[in-house]
């Protein structure tokens, strides 16, 4: 009953199921999977990555501007001006609501501004 017992049990079950699903998939003619759309997929992930990298060194305000600048391109219809306004509005709004009102432990400004 060590730490490995339960994971081994569940893992073996999952492996068996995986084999069964794979074999059934090989045997049957199925519809091809839905097409992947790379543009929103890559840009949204990139925006999360930027958020993760920037939020501690640069503070919330700048991070939101950067993340919106990337994520905004995921939708073709959004104009540059609208994107800039959204970015600034979101940055100001988030800093006020999350940091000032809800009291989340986030730095707003980069360290050289503080």
């Amino acid at each position: 009953m060590g730490p490995g017992m339960f994971p081994t049990l569940v893992g073996s079950l999952l492996a068996i199921l995986g084999i069964v699903i794979a074999l059934r998939g090989l045997r049957r003619e199925g519809a091809p999977p839905d097409r992947f759309h790379l543009r929103p997929f890559v840009l949204l992930l990139l925006a999360i990555a930027i958020f993760a990298l920037a939020v501690e060194p640069l503070g919330l305000f700048v991070t939101i501007l950067l993340a919106v600048a990337v994520a905004g391109f995921a939708d073709r219809e959004l104009s540059r001006l609208a994107m800039a306004i959204t970015a600034v509005a979101l940055a100001i709004g988030s800093c006020i609501v999350f940091v000032k009102l809800l009291g989340l432990q986030l730095e707003i400004w980069p360290p050289f501004f503080r």
């Binding site: 009953m1 569940v10 999977p33 759309h37 997929f41 958020f51 979101l90």
Partner: protein
């Protein structure tokens, strides 16, 4: 009678100024995120979770619960007016509701949605108040073996209720359990599947998992489909006619009953309840008018059911400490932040919290009726925000929410990974809900299994020699076998369409 004194205590708690304020805040926010398509109660509660630390346990739970059932009201507005589910549980409301709106009856559709939600909410509150105490009493007698078998049954039930391939759903549950085991083993202190990453010693962040699989993966999917032009309709008078009300009475009652029962089941809650109620109503309603072409009963039944289901899904949480859906899992998180171990002892140790929460649901439902009938214009205007602005806000809110739970960038990378995985899952028709339930129940199952085996000195037969535990396991096996039986499978596919 004891019931009245208990409920009275709850009312006193719920009616304090502070709790009234947070109850209002909760239902207001709930309606807001319910109206906005793409932002659900899971993401909202996750974002507010860190902020509830400063509140006491009662206001925190009252507010978070309000968000969940409030979202059920808001979702119907979007479904009826623009044919988009504001909330996943209002998908079926759109069928007849939007048709009614196109026939120029948007007002009565909105009115009956709010009224049936209100009636169902009030009845469900009493269902909780009546059934939770005896259930908690039974639960106090449960040993680890019973808990393990009950959770097995819960997971199997979640698989049965999931749409799509059974095999895939079982695989998703198992994957969820394994993901839930990442981190430090509580018994031995060993690191499991952390690969030396210090941020994973406490396990994978539940909020990152839920927001990635449910929130952001959906956002990507929405972005690739071109936005439909939203057609607005005039609302007009909200009050349904007396004939409408008479026609709907039966539907509301059936919807409430079905919703209350399905809400208790693991994997259940609002979503399943509304689907089941609509299917059921189509079959039994007399005279069988044209469902799908604007039948008011097609709005009343699922709206009653989803609100009843949203509320009774608190029963397993409050009596067993077992969450039946992702929202309830977050509420367990909220309780733990307050230092309260969820389980049957809440009722006896914290009666003011337990009964206060239940009484607040009654008050919250009244507030929602006011918020949704006279103030409907406000919510309609909110709908004019195009998705191209909304998705950016959702992205930023999800990122902030994920980070702020424990101020860790590792959680943000988990969000990154689960967003990517979630999108692939959606493309491959693998439903994320069973995975999330496995993730939450997995560690609890392991803990109870090991405890049971330690008590029985390593003899696994303890799971089948204790009568209650054996009953749960037999039920699980029967459920699983019935899934493979072709006749029932056909039935299930039809019902879950």
């Amino acid at each position: 009678m004891e019931f009245f004194s208990d409920f009275g205590l709850g009312l006193v708690t719920a009616l304090s100024w502070q709790n009234l304020l947070y109850c209002f805040l909760g239902v207001f926010l709930g309606t807001l995120v319910g109206v906005l398509p793409g932002l659900g109660p899971v993401a909202t509660i996750a974002m507010l979770l860190p902020a509830t630390f400063a509140l006491g346990p009662a206001p925190a739970m009252i507010m978070l619960a309000g968000i969940y059932y409030g979202a059920q009201y808001g979702g119907s507005t979007t479904a009826i007016l623009v044919n988009l589910p504001g909330e996943s549980s209002s998908v079926v409301t759109a069928l007849d509701g939007h048709q009614m709106a196109r026939n120029g009856r948007a007002g009565p559709a909105l009115g009956i949605a709010a009224i049936s939600s209100f009636i169902a909410g009030c009845i469900a509150t009493f269902v909780i108040a009546l059934f939770a105490p005896p259930l908690a009493e039974i639960a106090l007698k449960f040993g680890p073996a019973e808990y393990f078998s009950l959770m097995t049954l819960g997971l199997i039930a979640a698989v049965v209720l999931a749409s799509g391939s059974v095999l895939k759903a079982v695989a998703m549950v198992l994957l969820g359990i394994l993901l839930g085991l990442v981190g430090t083993d509580v018994n031995s202190g060993q690191q499991r599947f952390t690969f030396g990453v210090s941020g994973l010693t406490d396990g994978i962040s539940f909020v990152a998992l839920a927001m990635g699989l449910f929130g952001l993966a959906d956002v990507i999917l929405n972005l690739e489909q071109h936005e439909k032009q939203r057609v607005f309709v005039r609302v007009g008078s909200l009050l349904p006619s007396l004939a409408d009300l008479r026609l709907c009475t039966g539907s509301i009652m059936r919807g409430t009953l079905l919703g209350s029962v399905l809400g208790i089941l693991p994997g259940g809650g609002a979503l399943l309840a509304s689907f089941a109620a609509y299917t059921f109503e189509k079959r039994v309603a007399k005279p069988p008018r044209a469902f799908g072409q604007g039948d008011i009963r097609g709005v009343a039944a699922p709206e009653a059911a989803n609100n009843a289901g949203a509320q009774t899904s608190f029963i397993p949480l409050l009596t067993l400490g077992i969450p039946s859906n992702p929202t309830m899992a977050l509420l367990i998180g909220a309780l733990m932040i307050q230092g309260i171990q969820p389980g049957p002892q809440i009722m006896t140790e914290r009666p003011e919290l337990f009964w206060g929460l239940i009484a607040s649901m009654l008050i919250g439902n009244m507030m929602l009726l006011v918020l949704n009938l006279p103030l409907i214009g406000l919510w309609v205007r909110l709908l004019s925000i195009p998705y191209k602005f909304l998705y950016i806000a959702i992205l930023i809110f999800c990122a902030i929410g994920t980070y702020s739970v424990s101020n860790s960038t590792v959680d943000l990378w988990a969000l990154f990974a689960f967003t990517a995985i979630g999108y692939v899952f959606l493309k491959l028709d693998c439903e994320p809900a069973p995975l999330i339930l496995g993730f939450i129940l997995g560690p609890m199952m392991e803990e109870n299994l090991r405890r049971a085996l330690r008590i029985s000195l390593g003899d696994p037969s303890v799971l089948v020699t204790r009568p209650l535990s054996a009953a749960f396991l037999v039920l699980s096996v029967v459920l699983l076998i019935s899934m493979v039986a072709p006749s029932i499978r056909g039935h299930r596919e039809k019902a879950l369409q």
